[in-house]
């Protein structure tokens, strides 16, 4: 079974090589099939890796068999395996959905680029997740940034270009800051491998307090920009709302998360718990920013009039939860963060896809124009409703479980007052999700002149969303096992 140790690299390679082959295939059907195939294979391989890791524990993979400090190392624990499974499988489902719809949003000649970019993006994100090497991570970050910009701008509208430029500039500043942080760390330790840095730092960190703090700050802000930490989220609503729906799903569900994973790795693998606990102010700041994000994101979402922007701002709020979990600084917080990453990735992509199909069928993006949509597209709105309920935190659905764990985490962490923040934020969530559902399904004047199921998509096209929802339900139902697994992963992190 040691073959499985090669899988992480194989996955990345498959995706990248696939990406470079794709422009050569002229026919876009081949393109789609090829892209789906590569992502599908990689998700299968991720699954195998997960099984393997679950059985045999964490392993390190030396790329090109160079030994650690010099060569690049991939480190695959349970968490990485789970994340890679998440990334690949969600990406697979999103691509599957995009197969049916992508032509409607972008020009025909861009289709093959789109899939190339998707492959590159997923590959780069996986790289970020797997790698144990700072500089390697930096490169993957830059690659993913460019690919992410690519899948936004592929729509080729005025707004897209502007949004992309904004995203590009901000995220390159962000990566600049990350690089600066790396420089500080490197100047202290002379190493780029996280495990080694950790060893060095744990002996000498007292001497370099300022440098460590500065680099921590730089990492926080740099990655904060990329993962839309409030108030550095300014690029997100524009980018997410203007991109093609599948891209939005991809961006919101996956791209943001990879950087969070990297951030957690930096905090706990590179600096280590010992150092982090020396500077409680950092985690507290993250906690506060997370709480602010939870509340402000929701409030801003309430104010929006464009449905995709609503969901984009909801992402801001959900990222707030994730940072909140990190900021709690205890195991439960971290576990909940991971669980929330899973949950949010699945649900948010489902939301973007359902909204995407509504917009596609009606041609309307504004909330008021989408009133009565439940009559025309009952199933789609039904799927939207389930996702929305999960977002709000109705029990059994995964959203509730993660929120609940956050609450437990904050009580256990002695920060009971933040439970209130969680609850307020859930209520605010309800405030912007429910009106969409209610106005969609009910209301006499809304439904006038609408024909039942007149605009419904075929079941075939809705399958991907259905798969996502089922996945979410399973996630909710078997949350116990998954949380256990994550906790195991967090312990060996």
């Amino acid at each position: 079974m040691d073959v499985a140790k090669n899988f992480p690299l194989v996955i990345i390679l498959i995706l990248f090589i696939g990406a470079f082959i794709m422009p050569l295939l002229k026919n876009k059907i081949y393109n789609k099939a090829f892209s789906l195939m590569t992502i599908g294979i990689s998700s299968v391989l991720s699954l195998i890796t997960l099984v393997y890791v679950n059985r045999y524990g964490t392993f390190l993979y030396r790329v090109g068999h160079w030994d650690s400090p010099w060569g690049i190392e991939l480190s695959i624990g349970i968490l990485e395996a789970i994340m890679s499974l998440l990334l690949t499988s969600v990406a697979f489902v999103i691509s599957w959905y995009s197969v049916y719809t992508i032509e409607k949003e972008i020009k025909d000649n861009k289709v093959c680029f789109y899939y190339t970019l998707i492959n590159i993006l997923v590959g780069a994100l996986l790289g970020i997740v797997y790698t144990n090497d700072l500089f390697n991570a930096f490169v993957f970050i830059e690659v993913s940034a460019i690919a992410a910009c690519g899948i936004i701008v592929v729509k080729d509208k005025k707004e897209n270009i502007k949004a992309t430029l904004k995203y590009l500039i901000l995220s390159s500043v962000g990566s600049g800051l990350v690089l600066m942080g790396i420089a500080f760390i490197y100047s202290i330790t002379g190493n780029l491998n996280m495990t080694f840095i950790n060893k060095e730092l744990s002996q000498t960190f007292m001497a370099y307090e300022n440098s460590i703090l500065i680099s921590l700050g730089l990492f926080t802000i740099g990655l904060g920009i990329k993962s839309a930490m409030y108030p550095l989220h300014v690029w997100l609503p524009d980018a997410h709302s203007n991109a093609p729906s599948t891209s939005s799903a991809m961006l919101s569900a996956l791209v943001l998360k990879a950087y969070v994973i990297f951030y957690i790795k930096i905090l706990y693998r590179m600096f280590g718990e010992e150092i982090i606990s020396q500077f409680p102010i950092l985690l507290f700041m993250v906690l506060i920013l997370g709480s602010l994000g939870m509340i402000m994101g929701s409030i801003l979402a309430i104010l929006q009039k464009d449905i995709k922007r609503v969901i984009a701002y909801s992402s801001v709020a959900q990222m707030g939860y994730i940072f909140f979990g990190i900021g709690l600084g205890n195991t439960i917080g971290l576990v909940s963060t991971f669980f929330h990453i899973l949950n949010h990735a699945i649900i948010k992509s489902a939301l973007f896809l359902t909204v995407g199909s509504m917009i596609e069928k009606t041609g309307q993006k504004k909330l008021f124009a989408l009133k009565g949509i439940g009559k025309e597209m009952p199933i789609t709105l039904g799927l939207f409703t389930v996702s929305a309920l999960s977002m709000v935190g109705i029990p059994i659905l995964p959203g509730f479980i993660s929120k609940f764990n956050f609450a437990i985490g904050s009580i256990k962490g002695g920060k009971s007052i933040f439970v209130v923040v969680i609850l307020i934020s859930s209520l605010l969530n309800a405030l912007y999700y429910f009106p969409i559902v209610i106005n969609g399904y009910f209301g006499e004047e809304n439904l006038e002149g609408k024909v039942f199921k007149s605009k419904e998509k075929t079941i075939k096209e809705l399958m991907p969303i259905l798969v996502l929802i089922i996945a979410a339900l399973i996630l909710g139902a078997s949350s116990n096992k998954i949380i256990e697994m994550i906790s195991n992963g967090v312990e060996v992190f």
């Binding site: 904004k166 926080t220 108030p231 700041m285």
Partner: protein
């Protein structure tokens, strides 16, 4: 066993009869009338038949599970008196009703409620358990309400409102008393209560006060009498007759139970009741003189007579072991009052039946040539004023003697005052009845010259005649009743046996003096001050209308004030949360609508370099509203510039916090 069933029967008979009668009445009115007469007749008959059994000892009955606490009934001689009178009066008024109501609407409803009222009244008198009593009491309030507002006109509704609201409030106060009673003693059975109450501290006064107030509303004790003068004239005459004759007695029954039985004639309480009795008797009589509506006069008269009864109840307590005379007096008067007051009401009813008018001014001289009616009315009059030879004389004499005995016992100067009030009130009685009699039956009128004879049917006459006969009979042979009353002595812990001689000089003299006073008052006051000449016609005026009215000037304003003020408070609370939200949002809206001078410097500085976008309205208007600025701000915040700016701030802040 058979007697127990009989008790159930006399309780259920009217209730079932009401339903059956209603059903019959939907098909045929004549059959219904007959049915009702038969029913009440049967009821009366049954009650007569069981007298022998009751005379030997009380019959008790307990049916568990009903209303949780069980239905506990008891029939002893004390209750029997009430029940007998009730069934008699009901029987007679039912007969009378069949004639009286011919031209009325909703007859079917009337009879249904009439019978229900009978059933519940009997229930009240039978109950041994205060909760049962309360239950029947409330049922009676509601069923009699339907009788009071039978006319459904403005005046009836107004009266009905007073009646029902006072009845409900009274009922609830009574209930409060029951709550406390049960809470402290754990029982509501009357007999055990009389034992248990002794050991209770001062709370027993609160309890009995609450109970008395509750019953007092029905008994129309001052100041809870306000419904009475309104309700009696409003109801159809048979209904007013039973209201006055019987329903008021349910309140009295309750008060007797509370004061004399439960509290064993507690001194304090008895004194209070005594005082209330005097106020009642004086005030009722005094106000009656001013009234012009016959029924209203009779209503106030009821109030005054209730005062006598209350006085009797008070004396039962005050006289302690010598209270036998007071017991006799009280019960006798209750009995008598039912008879003569009903007779008087029925007479008034006859007038109303014919003329649809009750004001003395309008019916003046109506009875000049109606000899039968005149005689009947006169019998009632003599009875009530205590003319020797009529039953009123007997009970008044007894009452007077009881009062004298109390005076003798306590030697308190207040009893002198009491004597005076007693006499004056009796004179008032004479005066106001004379007012009716003179105006209606003596004065001449051009309008009425003996017509309408055919209107008076036998069915209306028989009850009145029957009543007159009874009145005279027991007036002449008082001992029949007294013998019956003897059976109640045990209940009141009275041991003496009295053999009073009524027809002696002393008694007749004092009666005559009273009547004489009455004449003087009538001639000296009523004829002189209340009778005015208008357009050559004598007209009675009622100055008391302008006087202070408890209801108009006290109860209603106070209630209204309480209602309004509490509504205000609660409305605020009710809308509180919503209003708060509305207020905040409105103020935000208002704020956003405020016109401000051109975007302030702060906002410009935020952008560092003044962006052209801010003035995209080409400076058309110098002023922009706050919401405009917000709009522009929001737009700008979305820009790349802002993003970078935030980024810079964040870097500085985060690094600053971390490093320093």
């Amino acid at each position: 066993m058979i007697y127990k069933n009989t008790i159930i029967a006399i309780l259920l008979l009217p209730m079932l009869g009401s339903l059956i009668g209603w059903l019959i009445g939907r098909k045929s009115e004549a059959y219904r009338d007959t049915f009702n007469i038969l029913l009440t007749g049967a009821e009366f008959l049954i009650i007569n038949l069981i007298f022998k059994r009751i005379a030997t000892g009380p019959v008790e009955l307990f049916i568990p599970d009903i209303m949780g606490i069980g239905l506990s009934l008891k029939l002893d001689i004390f209750r029997y008196i009430f029940i007998w009178v009730t069934s008699l009066i009901w029987f007679l008024t039912t007969i009378y009703s069949t004639q009286y109501l011919i031209r009325y609407k909703n007859r079917n409803r009337y009879y249904a409620f009439f019978m229900l009222t009978l059933g519940s009244t009997i229930g009240i008198f039978l109950s041994e358990n205060l909760i049962n009593l309360f239950t029947f009491f409330e049922i009676m309030s509601f069923t009699s309400y339907a009788l009071v507002i039978h006319d459904e006109d403005e005046y009836a509704h107004e009266a009905g409102r007073s009646y029902i609201s006072m009845a409900i409030i009274g009922g609830l106060i009574l209930l409060m008393g029951l709550f406390l009673l049960y809470d402290y003693l754990g029982t509501v059975d009357i007999r055990p209560l009389s034992m248990a109450m002794k050991d209770l501290g001062n709370i027993k006064y609160l309890i009995s006060a609450l109970l008395i107030i509750g019953f007092g509303v029905k008994a129309s004790i001052v100041p809870l009498h306000v419904w009475l003068p309104k309700a009696h004239p409003a109801a159809p005459t048979p209904a007013s007759a039973i209201l006055s004759g019987i329903l008021v007695k349910t309140g009295i029954f309750g008060i007797i139970v509370v004061v004399s039985i439960m509290m064993n004639g507690d001194m304090v309480l008895s004194t209070v009741i005594l005082i209330i009795g005097f106020i009642n008797m004086f005030l009722g009589g005094f106000l009656a003189m001013f009234q012009r509506n016959i029924k209203r006069i009779l209503a106030y008269s009821s109030m005054s007579q209730i005062g006598y009864i209350l006085m009797g109840i008070g004396l039962i307590g005050l006289l302690k072991e010598h209270n036998a005379i007071a017991v006799y007096a009280t019960l006798y008067h209750i009995f008598n009052h039912a008879l003569f007051k009903v007779l008087l009401f029925l007479c008034a009813g006859v007038i109303y039946m014919i003329l649809h008018e009750l004001s003395i001014n309008a019916i003046r001289g109506f009875g000049k040539h109606k000899n039968i009616l005149k005689i009947l009315f006169l019998i009632g009059l003599f009875a009530i004023i205590g003319m020797p030879g009529f039953n009123g004389f007997i009970s008044k004499t007894l009452l007077h003697e009881a009062l004298a005995e109390a005076h003798h016992m306590y030697h308190n100067m207040w009893f002198n005052v009491a004597e005076v009030i007693f006499t004056i009130s009796s004179s008032f009685t004479v005066a106001y009845l004379l007012k009716i009699f003179v105006a209606v039956f003596m004065e001449k009128s051009d309008k009425y010259k003996g017509q309408y004879k055919h209107h008076l049917k036998k069915r209306a006459m028989i009850p009145m005649v029957a009543l007159s006969v009874v009145i005279i009979y027991i007036g002449l042979r008082p001992n029949i009743i007294l013998k019956v009353l003897e059976g109640t002595m045990v209940l009141f812990n009275a041991h003496e046996h009295i053999e009073p001689h009524f027809y002696n000089i002393h008694n007749i003299k004092s009666s005559m003096i009273t009547i004489g006073f009455g004449f003087i008052i009538f001639i000296g006051f009523i004829s002189r001050y209340l009778r005015k000449e208008e357009n050559g016609e004598p007209v009675y005026v009622n100055p008391s209308l302008k006087w202070f009215s408890l209801e108009r000037h006290l109860y209603i304003p106070v209630a209204r004030f309480l209602y309004r003020s509490s509504s205000m408070i609660f409305k605020v609370i009710d809308r509180g949360i919503i209003n708060l939200v509305m207020y905040v949002s409105n103020s935000l809206k208002a704020l956003s609508g405020i016109k401000v001078k051109k975007p302030s410097k702060a906002i410009e500085n935020l952008k560092i370099k003044k962006p052209n976008v801010l003035v995209r309205k080409n400076n058309k208007n110098e002023f922009t509203t706050f919401s405009d600025i917000l709009e522009i701000l929001r737009f700008n915040l979305n820009s790349l510039m802002y993003g970078v700016f935030i980024l810079a701030i964040m870097i500085i802040v985060v690094l600053g916090i971390l490093v320093f």
